[in-house]
Symmetry: C2
Subunit: 336 residues, 2 copies
């Protein structure tokens, strides 16, 4: 049995979209997968009664009476609300009663609680968010998507390792390419941290490093003539670009809706619009903690929750956490 | 008479697109505007013979036998090729024989030569590129678009001043709002430099500072309930986002072309596609130098060159350079 814990109180429309996403996921997943809905039991029960057919034998409700708000300070919320859905949900995994945790709640609180309760794998300096960017080709995984604001060069190398393992295990890319986000391809480009990271990455074994890449390469999904799988960057630029892209996609769709609404209904446009559709991807992994944690947008629809559950399932099945431990156990991989 | 110098050797398709852009611009501009085409006389003559009707009495060819390549090191190119179109074109402005300079050539070389030959206005710490981002509303000016990789907090305040003057003079926005690009709106968000810049900007008079903004606000063209006119950020993140946006737009259009090509022909789509069309904007000003310098994409079509000429004209007419000098002459404006 594989158990996925889902924070039922996280999203803007909690717990309804979480419960709907859970019900959809259970229909698609093999019987060995069970879901733990973490939150206020009465609210979850009410939401369950509103969704259609659902296999209750594979759902466990885990009561957590407190809720961390989007405006709560992360550390204070974790310490002050030990019975929140975030703390209780992650506590299940800490006590080996669950295999993964998914939340669309306060991202900072989920990150802080994950690091506190699950701890980092030995050798991992900082946990990082892996954000999948749609592209004209395959999606590109950008690490870090916003967990770490100031990063040093060795941390950027660590993100390259984390992203590579995730790309192999969850995205099914056997020898993933890694690019360093920079403002030009040449060796001498970038600030001091990025220049140092470039030199370190060139010497790092076990990573398929293809060199400096630029912002323009991400939407194309290719860099230096190869498919681009993983991009490493600090969480400041990663977060700015991530929010920028999400917003640009929404703006574009809303402009088409205003000017030529029928265009959006055209079946051929589905292949275009999926490039802008974050619900397809569902959730972003918090990489580096001992366990599986998937962070969703607060505005996630049920489909995004369902897809986040599928991502968590793939991470558990592929032994992502063990593989990250193994990657970082090879001390020689990050040049000292 | 107002004289605009145009580097005829800069773009990927030089000098043809430059000459075509010049011919188009002259048709639209009043008779007082003259163009100085700087480059290899024979090449420019040949290109002129290939364009249609053009008023040769308003075109002066200024011979510059050397060409700075896209791969040349900026400083070495300026020092080693004093007869390049970049050095000669900027030299005209230095000697008061021209009012503006436009180039689609090596951006680093144009920036280095501009700073060396024209010098910065007193009080300006670093020249910065003002990049116009299309948005659902009015375009948003992002400063710095890539001239300065590592910036301190006071430099970010300087970019806010530079962008504000440009927005008033060239974009016609009387009291432009300024946002600081960050990863959240709250005071405590961001890295050390950004946090310090936020505090400085709050105390800075003469700037309509609206606070931290996020990547998502730029495509919308609004932040904190107001129109967003100017965004200040370091040139690393500015350049990454700029290249990302240009590329995302191209990818989107090419996907529509592949999947549903007739959609691009629909007249209502023009209002959507203009959000992705950089040719509309033409060129990015290098702000802070004593003079007017407009930098174009190497891949600029003739229309972008024409629009860059119009931008230069507006900068000259509005006395942009004098207004920047005045802005920075008020010592009290940047908190010490």
């Amino acid at each position: 049995m594989i158990r996925i814990a889902l924070d039922a109180m996280g999203s803007d429309k909690a717990p309804q979209v979480e419960v709907e996403g859970a019900a959809q996921a259970l229909k698609e997943l093999p019987a060995e997968f069970h879901l733990q809905l973490v939150g206020r039991t009465a609210d979850i029960d009410a939401a369950l009664s509103r969704v259609g057919e659902v296999d209750r034998s594979r759902i466990e409700i885990v009561d957590a009476p407190d809720v961390v708000g989007m405006g709560d300070k992360p550390l204070a919320a974790i310490r002050g609300k030990p019975r929140s859905s975030i703390a209780v949900g992650l506590g299940l995994q800490q006590k080996d009663k669950s295999d993964a945790f998914i939340s669309a709640g306060n991202t900072g609180a989920v990150m802080a609680a994950s690091t506190l309760l699950l701890r980092l794998h030995p050798g991992v300096q900082r946990a990082a968010i892996g954000a999948l960017f749609p592209s004209a080709g395959q999606p590109v995984l950008v690490v870090d998507g916003g967990a770490n604001i100031d990063c040093d060069a060795r941390e950027l190398v660590g993100f390259a390792h984390l992203g590579s393992v995730y790309a192999r295990d969850v995205l099914g890319r056997p020898n993933p390419t890694v690019g360093l986000l920079n403002i030009g391809e040449e060796d001498e480009k970038g600030n001091a941290v990025v220049k140092e990271a470039h030199q370190l990455l060139k010497q790092t074994s076990g990573i398929n490093y293809i060199g400096n890449i630029e912002g323009r390469d991400i939407p194309v999904g290719e860099a230096r003539g190869q498919r681009l799988d993983v991009v490493t960057c600090d969480g400041f630029v990663g977060n700015v670009v991530l929010k920028f892209y999400e917003s640009a996609g929404r703006v574009f769709v809303s402009l088409i809706k205003r000017e030529a609404p029928d265009v959006l209904q055209r079946p051929e446009m589905a292949n275009v619009l999926k490039v802008l559709d974050y619900a397809t991807y569902g959730g972003a992994p918090l990489l580096g903690v001992q366990g599986v944690v998937i962070i969703c947008h607060g505005a996630s629809p049920a489909q995004a929750i369902k897809n986040a559950i599928r991502v968590a399932v793939q991470a558990v099945r592929s032994h992502l956490s063990d593989d990250i431990a193994a990657e970082f156990a090879h001390d020689g991989k990050i040049p000292a």
